[in-house]
Symmetry: C2
Subunit: 461 residues, 2 copies
C-alpha cells in the first residue's frame, strides 16, 4: 500500500462492516444488564487496536459496576516525535423501538446513504473513524511521524465518574503533545467546523422558607410572605430587561469577545440561527442584544434556572400556603471565570436582595468546571482545519459551543495542546430515536484523521 489514503479507500467497505459490528453491541453504560455487552465491546476494541498494529493495548477495569477504559499506544515514531492522544467514547444512550425508532435501534440500517443505529453519531462514528485512520497509517509504507495514543471511554453517557480519577492517578499514561477530543458534531453536511471554546459550569440550589409548616392559604394568606412568591421575586431580579445577569461581580473576570471572535463567529451565525429556528422555535430570540447568537451561546456566561418547585402541583387545587420552595440554578461560564467565585457572587447577591420576611439558603452543587478557550492559531487547530479542508473540500469555520465538556478540561492537564474533532451532524439525533449519520461523514472522518496525523507529523517530526 503506497499511502494511507489509498489504503482507506481500498478498505472502505470493510471499515463500514467493522463499524456496523461495533454498533450492534449494546454498550449502554447506564444499564447494568448490559455490563457484559460493554465488556465484550471493550475486548473487541482492544483486540482491534492490536490487530491494526498498535504496540500495546489494554482494557483498564474501573471500580465494580463501572465500564472499562480501553487504552492503546503506538510509539514507533520514536521518543523525539510528538505524541497525539485521541479520546472517544464507545458507550451509548439507551434506545427502544417504543421511543419512536423506525428501525431496530441496535441493527444498523442503511437507507439512501444514511446509516441508522444507536451510537451511529454519538460516538462510535468517532471511535471507528479514528481507529481506521490509525490503521491506514500503520498499514502504509511510510509510518506516521507522530506517536499515537487512543483512549476509549466506556461511561461518558453515565457520568464519566472514573476517567478523571484515572488521569489524575496516571497522568503519564495519557500525556501527549496534542489531545484530540473526538465527539460532537459539525455545523452542516457541507460545512465542517472546529470548536475553539467550551463554556464552564457551576451549580447551586436556592431554598426559601417562610412559615415553619405548610399552612391553609385561607387561614393565613395575606399575613405571610409566600415562599414561592419570594423565590420568584428573587429569581426575577437575577437578570435585567436585556437578559444580562444582574449579579454584581458576575462578569468581572469574563474574557471579552474580541474583534477576532466576532469575525469568526459571524460565519457561524446563519447556521446557528437556522438550527435555532428548527430546534428551539420559541416565540422570539432572547438574550444580550449586544451579542450575536453564537456569542450568546458560546462566549457569554449565563444564569439558567433548571428547575423550580414549591407547594402543590398535582391535579385540581390545594389551597396551601407552602412552607418552602426551591430552585436549581446552573451558570455557564465564560473563559477566566472561576466556578467557585461565581457561585459566591450569586449567593451573596441573593442574600442581599432576599426580603427579611423569609429565610434563604444557597447551597453549592458540585465543584463546577472552568471554561476552555483554545487558540485557533495553535498547531493542533491549524492542523485540524487543514485536515477538514482536505477531507470535506471546504474550509472549516470556528465555533464556540455552549455546553461543558469536562474531559476537555482534564485533557488540558496532560496535553500541551487541545483540539476537538467531530465528524457527525447536529441533525444526527444523538440521544434521540433514529440516530443516524451520512456514510460520507464516516469516510470523511477517516480521511480527516489521516490528514491530521500527517500534518502534525510533518510540522513537528
Amino acid at each position: 500500500m503506497a499511502n494511507p489514503y489509498q489504503y482507506a479507500e481500498t478498505n472502505q467497505e470493510r471499515f463500514l462492516d467493522e463499524y456496523q459490528h461495533l454498533l450492534k453491541i449494546r454498550t449502554i453504560s447506564t444499564q447494568p444488564q448490559h455490563a457484559g455487552d460493554v465488556a465484550r465491546a471493550a475486548d473487541w476494541l482492544k483486540d482491534m487496536m492490536l490487530e491494526i498494529g498498535m504496540e500495546r493495548a489494554e482494557v483498564i477495569l474501573m471500580p465494580a459496576g463501572r465500564c472499562p477504559l480501553v487504552l492503546g499506544e503506538w510509539s514507533g515514531a520514536g521518543p523525539d516525535a510528538p505524541t497525539v492522544l485521541i479520546y472517544c467514547h464507545y458507550d451509548v444512550q439507551p434506545a427502544a423501538v417504543a421511543d419512536g425508532w423506525v428501525t431496530e435501534p441496535f441493527e444498523p440500517t442503511i437507507v439512501d446513504g444514511r446509516l441508522f443505529c444507536r451510537g451511529a453519531v454519538d460516538s462510535k462514528l468517532h471511535v471507528m473513524a479514528n481507529l481506521k485512520a490509525v490503521e491506514s497509517w500503520l498499514a502504509a509504507d511510510a509510518k506516521p511521524k507522530v506517536n499515537i495514543k487512543i483512549v476509549l471511554e466506556g461511561e461518558e453517557e453515565s457520568g464519566s465518574e472514573n476517567i478523571n480519577a484515572f488521569i489524575a492517578a496516571h497522568p503519564e499514561r495519557l500525556a501527549a503533545d496534542i489531545a484530540v477530543i473526538s465527539d460532537g458534531a459539525i455545523l452542516a453536511p457541507d460545512q465542517p467546523s472546529l470548536t475553539y471554546g467550551l463554556r464552564g459550569i457551576c451549580a447551586l440550589e436556592l431554598h426559601v422558607q417562610s412559615p415553619v409548616n405548610d399552612l391553609h392559604s385561607g387561614h393565613w394568606g395575606g399575613s405571610v410572605h409566600n415562599p414561592i412568591q419570594a423565590l420568584c421575586e428573587i429569581l426575577a431580579q437575577l437578570h435585567d430587561d436585556n437578559g444580562t445577569v444582574a449579579v454584581p461581580g458576575f462578569y468581572d473576570d469574563v474574557a471579552a469577545v474580541t474583534a477576532k471572535d466576532r469575525a469568526l463567529l459571524e460565519q457561524v451565525e446563519p447556521f446557528l440561527q437556522a438550527e435555532w429556528d428548527d430546534v428551539v422555535s420559541a416565540p422570539a430570540v432572547w438574550g444580550e442584544s449586544e451579542y450575536i447568537l453564537p456569542e450568546r451561546l458560546g462566549a457569554r456566561p449565563t444564569l439558567e434556572i433548571n428547575g423550580i418547585h414549591g407547594g402543590y402541583t398535582g391535579d385540581g387545587m390545594k389551597t396551601v400556603l407552602p412552607a418552602r420552595a426551591f430552585a436549581k440554578i446552573t451558570c455557564r461560564l465564560a473563559p477566566r471565570q472561576d466556578p467557585e467565585r461565581v457561585v459566591r457572587c450569586v449567593a451573596e447577591h441573593i442574600k442581599n436582595i432576599a426580603p427579611a420576611t423569609v429565610s434563604v439558603d444557597v447551597q453549592t452543587r458540585g465543584p463546577g468546571a472552568e471554561a476552555v478557550l483554545l487558540d485557533v492559531d495553535s498547531l493542533a487547530m491549524r492542523s485540524a482545519a487543514a485536515a477538514y479542508a482536505h477531507a470535506w473540500g471546504v474550509e472549516p469555520v470556528f465555533e464556540r459551543t455552549g455546553g461543558s465538556v469536562p474531559i476537555a478540561f482534564e485533557c488540558m492537564k496532560v496535553a500541551k495542546e487541545l483540539v476537538t474533532m467531530s465528524y457527525g451532524l447536529k441533525s444526527g439525533r444523538a440521544h434521540g430515536p433514529n440516530e443516524n449519520i451520512y456514510l460520507q461523514n464516516f469516510y470523511n472522518g477517516v480521511r480527516a484523521m489521516i490528514k491530521f496525523i500527517e500534518i502534525v507529523g510533518e510540522s513537528r517530526g
Copy 2:
C-alpha cells in the same frame, strides 16, 4: 324535668358517653373502605334524632360511593314559629398512629379534662353538642318556640360534592329563618368568638411556554427566555412591595374595612398575633401595612401562589432549559368581589405584562365562591352572642376568617339569616395528630345551643 339546662346538666355523663360512641366510628369519607362505618354512623345518628324526639329523620343516600346526609326535623313550634337549621358534618379526616398520635386515634382518651380522638373537634363535637341541646329542649317541660332542622353532612372532608346539589334540588328541605353553620373554632378557651365574615375564592393556573421542547441548557442557554424565569418575572409583578396585589381593577369592588370593622377586629388582634407566632412563625409578618392582622387575614383579598413547577427538581442536577413551567394561583376574595371578574382581571394583567419571548396561557379552575359578610346586629348574630355569653360567662368577640366555607354561601340561599357557631379551639389540631377538645367546650357548646334556641324563640315566637 323543669328546663333544658337542668336536663343537660343531669345527663352530662351520658352525653359524653354518646359523643365517645360516635367518635369510635371511623367515618373517614375519603377512604372507600370506611363506607360501611360512615353508613353505620349515619343510621346511628338518624336513630338518635328519632330517640330524642324529632318528628322525622332520614338518611339521604348520595350518588354511589358518596357518603349520605342525615336530615332531621321537628316542627312542634307550629307553622308561624321561626325555623332554625343546624348544619354540622360527621365525617372526619384519616388518622394513623404513624402520623404522630400519642393515643389510638379512634379510641377516645380523656386526660386532665381533655379528650383526644380523631373528630373530637372537627366536627363530632358540634354534631353531638347540638343534638344533645335539641334533646334537652325536647325533653323539657316547655317545648322550644322554634322549629328545628338538623342536617349532618358525610362528605365535608372529601369535597362536599353533593350537598350543594341537594340544596339546589330540594331547597324546601333546608329552608329556614336562621341557618347555623356549626363547625370551626373559637379564639381561645376563655374567649368565645363569632365569625361575621368569610372570604370567597377563585382559582387559576398560569402556564408559560418558551421553546417547543426541553433543551440542553448549555447548547441553548443565553438565547432563550427560560420559561421558569419568565414565570417568575410575571409572578413577581403581581404584588407591590407593600404586599398589595398589583393587578389593575383587582380591588375595584372590594367592600371597605369600616371603622366598625376595625373596632371589632382590634379585639381579635392579640389572639391572632399569638396564634401567628405559634403556628406560622415566619421570620416576620408580611402584608398590607395599612391593615391590622385580622383585616389582612379576614377582610382583605389575597393572591396566593399555591404551587409552582418547572424543569428538573429531583436529586442532583440536570442541565435542562425546560419548555414550560406553571403555577397554581388562588385568590381569596373580599365581600362584593365577583370570582369570575377577578380571574378575568388577573388573566388580562398577566397577558399584558407577559414578555413577547414566551407564550402564556391562563386557565380558570372551578367556579369559585363569593365571600360572605354577615350583619353583626342581626337577630341570629345577637342571639348567638348572648348564647356564648351565657355558656362561657364571657362576651364573644367578632372575627372574620380567611377561609372559604362554600356551605355558608349555599345556606344563605335557603335561610334568611346565617350565623356560624363553633365550640372547639384552634389549638385542637383539627386534621392533625392528637386532635382534642377540652370537655368543658363540649358542655359549653350544649349550653350555648340551648340558649340560642331559647333566645331565637323568645325574640320571634
